[in-house]
Amino acid sequence: MTDRPSWAPPGIDITVPSVSRVYDYFLGGSHNFEVDREAARVALKAIPAIPKVGQANRAAMRRAVRHAVGRGIDQFLDIGSGIPTFGNVHEVVHTLNPAANVVYVDNDPVAVAHSKAVLDGNEHATIAAADLRDPRSVLDHPETQRMLDLDRPVALLLVAVLHFLRDTDNAYAVVGELRDALAPGSVLVITHATPQAGLLSDDQRRVQDVYQRTSTPLIMRTVPEVERFFTGFELLDPGVVPLNHWRPDTPPSDDDDPALLTGLAGVGLKA
C-alpha cells in the first residue's frame, strides 16, 4: 500500500479483527466484536496464559509510568495506546500529578473514536490519530503540538506496539527519529513480544498466525534486538528483562506462569 492517494482516508472494516479490540478482550473487556473474540479464542487455545501476559504488560507499564513521574516527567506520549480500559496511563499519571499532560496515539480508527469519547472534556489527556510508522505524523499532529513541549523531557511509551512493526517498516529508524525529537532527560518505555526460550514454539507460531489475519502481523524480537531500540538511550536497571522482572513491587516467583517470559520490558534515559 505504498502510494495510496492521500485523499483517500483509511476505510474501516469491523469484519476484520483489530489488534486493539483483541487485546481488550484479553484484558477482560467487552470493547470487542465477535470477529475479535473469535480470533482471540484461537490465540487463547494455543497459549491460555495470554491474558496474564497482557495483565503483566499493563502492570509493567504502570510501574514504568510511575518511575517516570518520580523523575519529574510531566508529559507522556503513548503511541499504540489501544482501547482505554481500567488503569490507563492518564489515570496512573493523574493520581500522582493531576497537571501532567498525556497524548495517546493510535492508528486504529475505532480505538481513536473510543478514546475520544472517554477523554471528552479531559483537559490533560487527548488522543491523536496517527501512524507510528510515520513518526512525523505523530510529532507534527496538532494534538501533540498543542499538548507537549518537546523541548522538555517526555516519557515516550511504545508499549506492546513495536512488535507490530516489521523490519520493512524500518522499526529502528522510526524509533531513532522519535528519539531525535526528544529533549535530554526524556525516557523511552518499551514492552515487546519475544520468542520463548530463544525458539518460536508451535504455540507462539499459532498466535502469530492469528495476528497475520489482523493485517498487523506480530514480530517477536530477541533481547539484543529489543535492546537495539534503546540506541541513544542509557538503559536503566535492570535492562531489558521479562515483564514481571522490571522493578517489580513484589519479587517474581518461580511459580509465575512461564508464558510471562514471552514479554520483555525496558526503560531508557536520553542523556
Binding site: M1, T2, D3, R4, P5, W7, A8, P9, P10, G11, I12, D13, I14, R21, F26, L27, G28, G29, S30, H31, N32, F33, P51, G54, Q55, R58, A59, M61, R62, I83, T85, F86, G87, P109, V110, A111, V112, A113, H114, K116, A117, V118, D249, T250
Partner: protein
Amino acid sequence: MTAQPAAPRCRAAGGTARAVGRTGGGPALSTSRDNLARFAAIWSRAIYPVTATSMTSAEFEQHLLPLARLLRDTLHAERFDPRAAIRVGEGLVAAHCTDPESLPSILGVIDAYLVLYCGPGLDLPAEECRVRCSRLQHAVAVGFSHALRERTLYEQESISRAALNAKTEAESALAASEARFRAVFETAAVGIGIADLEGNVLEVNESLTRMLGSESYIRHRRAGDWTHPDNGPEGDSLNRELARGERDHYHIEKAYPRADGSVLWADVQVSLLRDAAGRPQYQLGLLEDITERRRLLERLRHQATHDALTALPNRALFFERLDRALSTTDEHGADRADRRIGVCYLDLDGFKAVNDSLGHAVGDRLLVAVAERLRRCVTSPDQLVARIGGDEFVAVYADPPSLAAVTELAGRILKALSTPVLLDDRQLPVHGSIGVVHGPVGTRGAADVLRSADITMYRAKELGGNRYEVADPDADARAITRHGLTNQLPSALRHGEFFVEYQPLIGLEDGVVLGAEALVRWCHPVHGVLGPDQFIPLAESTGQIVPLGRWVLEQAAQQARDWQDRRFTGPAPRINVNLSPVQLTHPDLVAEVAAVLDETGLPPSALCLEVTESALIGANEDALKPLRRIADLGVAIALDDFGTGYSNLSSLRWLPVSVLKLDRSFTRGMRQHPADPVEMKIVEGIVSLAHTLNLTVTVEGVETRTQAEHLRALGCDTAQGWYYGKAGPADQLHALTLADAV
C-alpha cells in the same frame, strides 16, 4: 482453592480473634480490624489470579478492604439486610474482576472465612450466622452479575458507537475528499481520465474531451486503442507493469490521434489506484497538451540545426551526428567499438572567383543549387550532408560497410556536380575537391576526424581539384603542420609567439666573444618551440617573412645596442641577422635597415646581414642593388652556407660581401685527430682565397676543441658552434667565459 478446613462455628472465630489480640497486644477494636485485614488478604489471594486487573496484589488487597468491611458490617447489623452486599459485587467488577469464572472464588472465600474472621461472636447463634452468610453471598452474586452485565452492555455499546463514529468520520472524510476531487477533476486544465486495469476508459473530464476531440470518440474505448507510429514500445510495457501492480507511477510523452485525425502530443502521468487492501484497481491518467510547445521546440530545433540559406543540416547538427557516429556505444548503451566512420569533406573549386566576379547573390544561388544536388546523393538514413561553412559541405556516413562505400559516396557527389548549374541562362560549372576519411571509431574525436578530412581535401585541391583523395595518416601529419602553421603565422606574430635567441660568435685568434647570430624561434601554443627550419620556408612562401624578418632585425639590433651599453668596452659587438631572399626583393628593405640603425643608434659596422649563397649567385645587378646600398651604409654582408651551392668562385669578387660563412659540411672531418687531410686542404684554399678578396671567414658548427684548433691553425677568423655555446637567451652571452677558446 484454599486447603484450610472451614471452621464449623462462630465461636471459633472468637478464639482466633483472641489469639490475634494476644500477639498484637492491642485493644479489641484493633483486633477486629486486623481480622478484617486478614480476611481481605485471603480474599485477595484467591481472587487476584483470576482477575484481569493491572493493580499489584497489594493494591488489590487495599481495594478489597472496604468491600470486606461492608460485608462484615452487613453481617453484624442488628437488622440484617443482605441487599447492601450487592454493592460488594459491583465493586469487584469495577476493580476489573470481569471474568465470570472468578465468582466461585469470590463466594468461596466469603463462605469459608467471613464468619470465621469477621463473625459477630457469641451475640448471634451459629445457625443465624450461616444463613446470613449465604444470603450475603447471594447478594454479592447478584451485584456481580448485574454489574458485569451493565458493564458489558455499556462497553459493547460504547465500542459500537466508537465504530460507528469512526465509520462516519471516515465516510465524511471520504465524502469531503471526493467532493474536492470532483471539483478538481471537473475544472482542471489538465486532461484527467480514469480507466480500469485493462484500460477501459471509465471517466474523463472536460479538458481531456476537448483535447481528444469529442466525447463519443472517447467513450467505450480502451486507452491502448489510441496508437500512433511516433510512440515507442516503452509506453506499453510501462503500462503493463503498472496494471500488474509492479509500479505505482510512470511519466511519458506520447502522441495520440485526435478525432479529426490530427495529432495530440501529451505529457502523460499515469498513477495506479489501489483498493484498501493494496490491490491494483484503477489507473489515473493526467494529460497535458504539449502539442504547441513541441511544435515550437521542433521549429526552434530545426532552426538551430539547419543552415538558413540551403536548409541543409548545419555545423551543429553535423557535429552531433558525427559525435554519435563516433561513439563506441549505440543508443541503447550496447558496446559498438567495432563500428567504423566515414566522412567526405567537400570544398567547391573556384567558388571564391564566382562570388567575386558575379556577386554574392549569384554565389548564394549557386550554393542552394549545389545543396539540392548534394541532398540527392544521400541514399540512406545513416548518411547526412551538412553545410559547415561558406562553400564547405560534409557528408557523414555512420558505420559504412567499407572504404569503397565511402568513396562511392564521394564519387556520387563529384558526379552530381559534374553538370554545370544553370542560373539565368548562364551555365556555371561547379567542381569540388573531396577529402575522404574512413576508419574505426574510438580512436579519435570529431574535431580530429574533420581536420583530417579538411587536410585531405586540400591535398585533392593541390592535385588539381575535381577529385577525391583518401586520408593517409602520414600525409596528414605533414600537411597538418604545414597547413596549420602557415595559417597561424600572422596571428602568432601579433600575439608575440616569436622570440630571438643568440649564438655566440668567437674570434678564433684570441677566443674573445665578438658578437652573436640572432636566431628566431616560435613558441607555438600546441607544438612547443619550433626552430626556423620548421616555419621560415612557410613564412617565405606566404610573404609573412617580410614582417617577421623586420621584427627579428629590430629585436636583434636593440639587443646589440643593449650589450654595447652595458658590457663591452672595446669594439662594438657584432650582431648577425639572417635575410631571406624574399626580403631582398622587398622594395622597403634598405629604408627599413636604415631606420632600424637610426632608431637603435647601433653603429652600422656592428650589424651583419647574412644572405644565402643561393640567393646571390646568379643574381643580376638590379637584384644586388639594395644589398649594395646596405653595404654602403657600412653594414657587413655575410655569404651564408657557403659551399652548398654551385658557387662561381670568381663572382665573389663582384658581390657586396665582406664575410664568408663556411658551411659545417666542410669541417666535419676535423672534429677528431688526425683530421681529414683533403678537407684540411680545401678549407686552407678557401681561406686563402677569401683573405685574398679581403673577406673574413666564419666557420659554423664547431663542436670540438680539436676542430677549433685545426680551424685556427688554418687561419679562419671567427667560429660558432656548440663547442662555444648554443643559441640561448641574450643574457647567456654575459656569462660566457672564454678560457677554453684560447
